[in-house]
Symmetry: none
Subunit: 119 residues, 4 copies
DNA sequence: GTGGTCTAGACCACC
DNA sequence: GTGGTCTAGACCACT
């Protein structure tokens, strides 16, 4: 599904979380689609089920994954009851944009880039 | 100049680096402006000069700070030799935008936001 | 510090989380005060450190606890970056109040109760 | 009447119970009004009659529903024999209010909120 | 079979 | 010493 980088500073569960989130928001995994079971993914990636479980829990909290006991875990549309992730993303967006503008990017350039992403 | 958060997960030198960069890209510190000496800043913030030194070195690498032997360090326009920071920012920008679009933000909305940043 | 109820439907880590949160919001543990270390609390309650760790992590996410690696965990003022907990509490408040009003409680009665709490 | 969420952590019968109670306390179902029969509701929601039955029994215990043999179940004013629900609600109310006050809400603010609920 | 919880024991980086 | 991460293996309730 994806590969882990043991040299990465990020802990494994965070890498798993980030990769899965990426697959969902890019549409590679569609909303409602069933994800591999905790055990299955742990086996296929040769890591401990608890580590996968932790990643799944974090994604559930962000609203990108919805577990159903006894049935499996399913991709969801990212409605974290509150909007904590949304707030964080907007902050990151503003800071990144500010720095890119400072580095000489034109607003139009970034807008265009924006529209071409994920197409 | 700014305050440190000892409870922050980021190491101190990284906080210093991020804060200084933020001051530069938002224009709070203008290009060409002289920054406090390593020792002066270390004293005023009550931390080890080595920590400040490390932050300054990292910023120099990113091109936001240009040291002049015997005179001090000056804010610069952010031309990092290899363009690694630029690459990183664009990657962050794409990922953040992708996720925000997935969460339902309209491209126009983000464009508007983009243009209003830093005004 | 408090006692666990093994008959409770709530998992242990949730009981720990709820109890600690209660101690903080009632002022029994003051903001900035150091909490027992993960290991210390685990030992004193005769449960696994991982279980305590899990409770601490959840509280950190809610903003009621702020861990400092190598130093300990400290009570905090509940600023969860977003306000997810705040949203949840308001929803609970509205629902509970609605039902109490339906059951015949006068608004004034609940207001008075409100003001006397935590005194 | 309302929709079930099969991904919800709560068991189905509890969702039914909570939804029905909500309809009663908000006045959407008026006191004395007849509710659908167990079988009718089970059919319309495509779930097992036993599940509905269990929800109805729980609501009867809380006093929000009063069955009349041979005629059906009718919404009632919520006088639970032992007052256990009332006690539970007051406990929840106190805890929620305490935490909201800790988070900076003013008592007046909550009082106002209280009075505007359900209007 | 699935997710959810818990235990026991280990290693790391930081202070 | 502290928090943070990971593994291995176990049990539960529910489908």
């Amino acid at each position: 599904m994806f590969t882990l980088n043991y040299r990465d500073a990020r802990p494994i569960y965070e890498q798993v979380k980030d990769e899965l989130r990426h697959l969902v928001v890019t549409g590679a995994i569609e909303i409602g689609e069933k994800l591999p079971s905790v055990r299955a993914m742990a086996t296929s990636m040769a890591i401990n089920p608890n580590t996968i479980q932790r990643a799944y829990e974090a994604l559930e909290q962000e609203g990108y994954l919805s577990p159903v006991a006894g049935k499996g875990s399913f991709a969801a549309q990212g409605r974290d009851a509150d909007g904590s992730r949304r707030t964080l993303l907007l902050k990151t967006f503003d800071e990144t944009a500010t720095e890119l503008l400072f580095l000489g990017f034109a607003p139009d350039e970034l807008c265009t880039r924006l529209r071409e992403v994920r197409v």
